[in-house]
């Protein structure tokens, strides 16, 4: 057997082994979550509020809170992020300014989420006087999602072949028309896929909402943007760290974790499905 073949077999073997090595961890993790969380899962668990000092009842307010926080943050971050990316991709001048912006965005993308939480508390809760509220939390999460959305949108815009842009401009289109009629429609599916993935990320964050939006316990749903909300990740955190009845509360925490996990998986599945159907249809 010649040496190249040996090396090839060895390399492929090592790569497959490392890939396979990650699977047991994932399986153990999922099995654990399902085993411990499935016991408490029921329609009543999803649709009722916590009772008896959070030792019984469900997670409905937290579910709604997470939904509202996520929706609000994406609603703020998506238009802002897409516009920023379009500007950087098409109009941004001078080059050094774009370079600095890009460094800033990448730094933000790598910043620990607790820092966003502290910033949100300082800027939104205290300085802007929004108090601990749905709005303050939504804004904080929006800032967290922003760099991800900007980078993803830029990436999506870059994958549009330059031929399309040239063709449009050569037909007498302005830059604005080229963006709105050629660039964006072509890149939109990829932009949205990225946005959906960032939904998953935002929904699971605890640290940014800890000081800005989340409340430990609330039996009622938020009535306005200035209300505090319960949220799934914070609910888990609260049950595991501050609960006084671990026997009843730990299973509820696992149930909540399972719901959050399933939600994020569902969102990712939607994104993967969209991406798959686009790839199948794409013809360039």
């Amino acid at each position: 057997m010649n040496r190249r073949k040996t090396w090839n077999a060895l390399g492929t073997g090592i790569l497959s082994a490392t890939l396979l090595a990650t699977f047991p961890f994932l399986l153990i993790f999922l099995a654990q979550m399902f085993y411990k969380g499935f016991a408490v899962l029921s329609p009543e668990f999803l649709l009722s509020a916590p009772r008896e000092a959070m030792t019984a009842g469900g997670i409905f307010p937290a579910l709604i809170g997470t939904f509202l926080l996520t929706a609000l943050s994406i609603l703020i971050a998506l238009p802002l992020g897409i516009l920023t990316a379009i500007w950087m991709n098409n109009y941004g001048k001078p080059v050094w300014l774009i370079r600095i912006l890009r460094i800033a965005i990448n730094t933000l993308a790598g910043t620990p989420s607790i820092i966003f939480g502290l910033f949100g508390m300082a800027a939104f809760v205290n300085i802007m006087g929004l108090d601990v509220s749905l709005l303050a939390g939504g804004l904080t999460l929006a800032i967290l999602a922003l760099p991800v959305i900007i980078n993803n949108t830029e990436e999506a815009l870059r994958t549009v072949p330059a031929d399309f842009r040239d063709a449009s401009l050569a037909l007498g289109a302005t830059t604005r028309q080229t963006i709105s009629r050629v660039l964006l429609p072509t890149a939109l599916p990829n932009i949205l896929t990225g946005a959906i993935i960032s939904v998953g990320r935002v929904a699971g964050e605890t640290a940014p909402i800890m000081f800005t939006a989340a409340t430990f316990y609330s039996r009622r749903l938020p009535g306005s943007l200035s209300d505090e909300v319960m949220a799934l990740p914070y609910h888990i955190y609260a049950l595991m760290t501050e609960g006084t009845h671990p026997d009843e509360q730990v299973p509820i925490a696992y149930g909540t974790a399972l719901v959050l996990l399933l939600l994020v998986l569902l969102v990712s599945a939607v994104a993967i499905f969209i991406r798959y159907s686009i790839r199948r249809k794409r013809q360039w």
Partner: protein, 252 residues
């Protein structure tokens, strides 16, 4: 002699520090096919892109000299670039239809300009597709994606798309280099038909193609216009030794 439709005088162009076009002065006559030939990197495509200001898109481009279109200086500060590009259509080397329907590809130029009613646009799309000899092949599937067409059909669609603006000039940048011989022949014949209504400039690597379809030929070398003459004349008695060497395949 009639006044040329396009005239460049002492045209110089730099990409950064790279001096790409040297003092090019060339007249382009209306309703003729003018071919631009020369070895790779001689500046023929760059010269072509001067006529619809596509070079503006490349950062660090500097242009000196003059290009007039029907007597109007297209590099004058007040010139509206988009109106120039609507009057001077362009077809690229690689067919580049939009990922839209056949109809919307051809209607694109009209839709962005606005001011035309829907029936009028439909009429113009049909007219353009007919002019590009594509109508019969696509009339039953105007709503299906342009990406499903063959390479040759896509290129004729791009010609139709450019014609929809009813341009005065059509720039073809090596339009057949990505096509099979049959599609190439069809586009060459089409050029001869189209020159009745539009002035055609074609950049080509294929000397025989220039000989087949052009009335005038410009030979460029290292950014200079070496020779410009009637094609039949240049192909029989080239005035410059470099032209002769290129035409006979000594280099290229």
């Amino acid at each position: 002699m009639v006044t040329p439709q396009i005239q460049t005088s002492q045209l110089n162009l730099w990409f950064g520090k790279n001096h790409v076009l040297h003092d090019v002065s060339i007249p382009i006559h209306a309703h003729q096919v003018t071919a631009m030939i020369g070895p790779s990197g001689c500046g023929k495509s760059t010269l072509l892109r001067c006529f619809n200001r596509m070079n503006d898109l490349i950062p660090d481009t500097r242009i000196e000299g003059q290009v007039t279109l029907g007597g109007m200086d297209i590099y004058a500060p007040k010139t509206d670039v988009t109106s120039i590009r609507a009057r001077v259509g362009m077809v690229f080397q690689k067919p580049n239809p939009f990922p839209k329907s056949i109809f919307n590809n051809v209607a694109f130029g009209l839709q962005i300009k606005g001011g035309l009613t829907k029936p009028k646009i439909q009429e113009r799309v049909e007219e353009s597709l007919k002019a590009a000899w594509l109508w019969d092949e696509v009339k039953d599937r105007l709503k299906s994606s342009a990406m499903a067409l063959s390479g040759g059909q896509q290129q004729r669609l791009c010609i139709a798309r450019a014609l929809a603006n009813r341009p005065d000039v059509l720039l073809l940048d090596e339009p057949t280099s990505a096509l099979d011989p049959q599609s190439t022949a069809k586009i060459e014949e089409l050029c001869l038909e189209l020159k009745k209504s539009v002035t055609i400039l074609i950049v080509t690597h294929n000397v025989a193609q220039a000989g087949r379809i052009s009335d005038h030929t410009a030979f460029m070398y290292l950014g200079e216009l070496v020779e410009f003459d009637r094609t039949d004349k240049m192909f029989t008695v080239p005035a410059d030794k470099r032209t002769e060497a290129y035409l006979t395949g000594v280099f290229g």
